[in-house]
């Protein structure tokens, strides 16, 4: 999996490409944790390039979300589609997280 991060104002935009599964989820979790330790509080995960997400991937996202919640931070999602959107829907993640159609829409809201 490919993880690219950039900062838009106060928001860290994380673009994911490939598969987020038991093998790649720890890597994502580690990188996001590092950013949180650096004091970042707002994250936008662009899932447009993500082909697959497993329960381990969901767990990683959940762990990150919990850390952010403690610090009054926030994580939102954009570009959910296909299987990934399906998984988000089934797992109920859409009921606890905010998802936007596009990165732009998400950033506009977060400003």
């Amino acid at each position: 999996m490919e993880i690219t991060t950039r900062k838009e104002k106060q928001v860290i935009v994380v673009s994911l490409q490939g598969r987020l599964d038991a093998v790649t989820a720890p890597e994502l979790e580690r990188r996001l944790s590092a950013l949180i330790v650096q004091g970042e509080l707002f994250f936008l995960l662009n899932m447009n390039g993500l082909e697959y997400i497993s329960s381990a991937g969901l767990r990683g996202i959940l762990a990150t979300a919990k850390k952010l919640k403690e610090k009054q931070g926030k994580i939102v999602f954009a570009g959910l589609k296909g299987t990934v959107e399906e998984v988000f829907k089934i797992s109920g993640f859409l009921s606890i997280f905010t998802a936007f159609d596009s990165e732009e829409a998400a950033l506009r809201t977060m400003e």
């Binding site: 697959y52 329960s55 089934i90 606890i96």
Partner: protein, 655 residues
């Protein structure tokens, strides 16, 4: 062929060959150069020697010549009497050691034309001075060459050597000087004054020439006759041209001609005595045109060079041997540890890491190699020890995982039909665990006589943590369900329990259903699990709508709603985990909801066990041996029409 030889052999071969070649070159150059030097020295020596001897002979001859020259001049210019001449002649012979004899031979007819032949002659015989008159009839001096030749040419001359038969009676050569008398105004031939030299004397002079062992000198006359020679039979009997003829040697003949012409030279020559190759230096004696030649035996002259060369060769060979030994020693000091290390590495290759390594005290490349080798061995040993430990612990973990896996499987109900005395419903489930311990589970149990609770779930992650979380979840659900609450409340309670202190953020997707086995009423709650398919009698299978609660264990305050759907007899619910829809083929393609739906539709109407087995087969043929990363779990529950129960008034309950 060289390839298979050892380093020592190659080193010795190459060093010896190259050193041998260098030595040979040096030797060849040295030999050639010293030979040239020797030859030049020999030529110089030869010239000096022959010069000295020729001078010696020349001076003797000149001394001899002086006597008749003086006497002739005396006879010509002053009157004399015979009585006075004889003592004078006698004194001259006696006082001149080089002279063998001397004579004054008067022209027989004399100046006056009537004198008888008279030739007083004094000569030395066996140390005594003797007198003879050569004018006696038995001798007739006026017929001899020594008398005739100067008379004819009016000039003094040396005779060819001859045996003076009747005179001196030895082999001699005679110097003759004519003298004249004035008869009126005529200068008239009056006689010959002679002096003889004994060729034995020359023989002595020449034979004193000794060059090395076999070198010698010889003297030849103006026509090439040998005058002196170590081989006495040649003297006066053989000429140089005769030898050339016998040998058929044109070059020798040419040398002979040059000698007669009075030239000198240094030429190669084959000894007449020993037949060995020699160098010959020859030089004329100016006084009488004879030629002295000295032979320098080549072999003897080069013997020194040969000896020197032999010495050099022996030294060279000894040096080469020494070099070979040194090289062999060095090579051994390299190859012995190498061979030992090769032996040791073979032993190491077969797993013997305790093999003794060759001791190598030196600090050179071999020593460093040995050191590196020792280090490698130690590292290998350490590594293998660690690997053994790691493997052991890995095996232990794996065996623990295996146990976890066994426990996981063993806590799931596996006896079907589980309730053979309850014909009003049927349930069947299959779990195919992935290679690693996965987190799928299912469970079913009666809450009371009619309410049958069933659960299917999938815990996030894999391995021992997932198995533990699964066991906790399953137990928790069963315990909670026993309280007689509806599925929504069950999940809400379980979620709260699991969420507390869940630092690892593990969660489970759980579908919890409750079937009223009398009425077929199905109530359920879904905690983030895949929507089951509801298989109606008269409709295509469809995914159960309205599910979609949050996964269980994620948020402490999540609430789960209970929904209901009625099941008619022979209608069933098909439950599965995402291991089914996300089963992959070799190209990474998912099995997918669509395919599952279609397969379920295809098997509709069969007993549920057959449906599940059919679909498992279909998944297997779809993935065609591709390794599955997730557990595959399917559970199906079917409500059945039951006349007996309907008859016994259960319909009341349903109403």
């Amino acid at each position: 062929m060289l390839r298979n030889r050892g380093i020592a052999f190659k080193l010795i071969l190459f060093f010896t060959l190259s050193s041998g070649l260098i030595l040979l070159l040096i030797f060849g150059f040295n030999y050639r150069f010293s030979r040239l030097l020797f030859e030049k020295k020999m030529a110089d020596d030869a010239e000096n020697l022959v010069h000295a001897k020729v001078n010696r002979i020349e001076s003797s001859l000149l001394a001899v010549q002086k006597v008749p020259d003086t006497l002739a001049s005396l006879l010509e210019n002053s009157p004399y009497r015979k009585e006075e001449l004889l003592p004078l002649l006698r004194a001259l012979v006696n006082n001149n050691p080089d002279i063998y004899g001397a004579a004054i031979a008067f022209e027989p007819s004399g100046v006056d034309g009537k004198s008888p032949p008279f030739a007083p002659y004094f000569f030395k015989q066996q140390g005594e001075l003797k007198y003879a008159d050569l004018g006696k009839a038995s001798y007739r001096y006026d017929h001899w060459d020594w008398y005739q030749l100067p008379k004819e040419i009016n000039h003094s001359a040396w005779s060819e050597p001859y045996y003076d038969d009747g005179g001196g009676n030895i082999l001699m050569a005679t110097y003759s000087v004519p003298f004249y008398r004035m008869s009126g105004s005529n200068r008239q031939f009056a006689g010959i004054v002679t002096a003889d030299i004994n060729l034995d004397w020359l023989q002595e002079v020449v034979s004193s020439i000794k060059v090395l062992e076999t070198g010698y000198g010889f003297l030849i006359s103006k026509n090439g006759t040998f005058l002196t020679h170590p081989l006495r039979e040649l003297i006066m009997n053989e000429t140089l041209f005769g030898i050339a003829e016998a040998r058929n040697d044109a070059r020798l003949r040419e040398i002979g001609r040059k000698m007669i012409r009075g030239e000198s030279g240094f030429v190669p020559f084959r000894s007449i005595v020993s037949q060995e190759p020699c160098w010959m230096y020859y030089m004329p004696v100016p006084a009488n045109g004879w030629t002295l030649a000295v032979l320098f035996p080549q072999n003897e002259f080069t013997a020194d060079i040969a000896r020197l060369s032999r010495m050099i060769i022996i030294l060279g060979i000894a040096g080469l041997l020494l070099l070979s030994i040194a090289v062999a020693f060095i090579a051994r000091s390299i190859t012995n540890p190498l061979a030992a290390m090769a032996q040791a590495s073979k032993a190491i290759a077969t797993g013997n890491l305790d093999v003794e390594l060759p001791a190598c005290a030196s600090n050179d490349e071999v020593g460093k190699l040995a050191e590196a080798f020792r280090y490698m061995k130690e590292s290998l040993k350490e590594y293998i020890t660690q690997l053994t430990e790691t493997t052991a612990s890995k095996e232990r973990i794996e065996s623990e995982l295996k146990i976890a896996h066994d426990i996981q499987v063993s806590i799931l109900p596996k006896i079907f039909p589980p309730f053979p005395d309850r014909p009003e419903f049927d349930i069947y489930a299959v779990i195919e665990p992935a290679r690693e311990v996965g987190g799928d589970f299912y469970d079913f149990f009666f809450i009371d006589d009619k309410n049958f609770c069933f659960v299917i779930g999938d815990v996030s992650g894999k391995g021992v943590p997932a198995a533990l979380f699964m066991a906790v979840t399953k137990t928790l659900i069963k315990a909670t369900a026993q309280r007689g609450i509806d599925p929504g409340e069950i999940l809400t309670n379980v979620n709260r329990e699991l969420s507390q202190g869940n630092d690892s953020c593990m969660f489970a997707t759980i579908f919890c259903g409750m079937l009223n086995t009398e009425t077929g009423a199905l109530s359920f709650a879904n905690g983030g699990h895949n929507s089951p398919l509801i298989v109606r009698r008269d409709k295509e299978p469809e995914f159960l709508a309205g599910t979609g609660g949050l996964v269980v264990g994620a948020m402490e305050d999540a609430a789960y709603a209970t929904q209901t759907v009625p099941l008619e007899p022979d209608e069933s619910l098909f439950l599965y985990t995402d291991g089914v829809t996300e089963a992959m083929d070799a190209r990474g393609e998912f099995y997918s909801d669509e395919r599952l739906n279609q397969q379920v539709a295809q098997h509709r109407g069969n007993p549920i066990r057959q449906i599940i087995e059919g679909i498992m087969e279909n998944i297997a043929s779809f993935s065609r041996g591709a390794l599955q990363s997730d557990d595959i779990t399917i559970m199906m529950i079917q409500f059945k029409k039951n006349e007996e129960r309907t008859a016994s008034g259960i319909t009341d309950v349903r109403a």
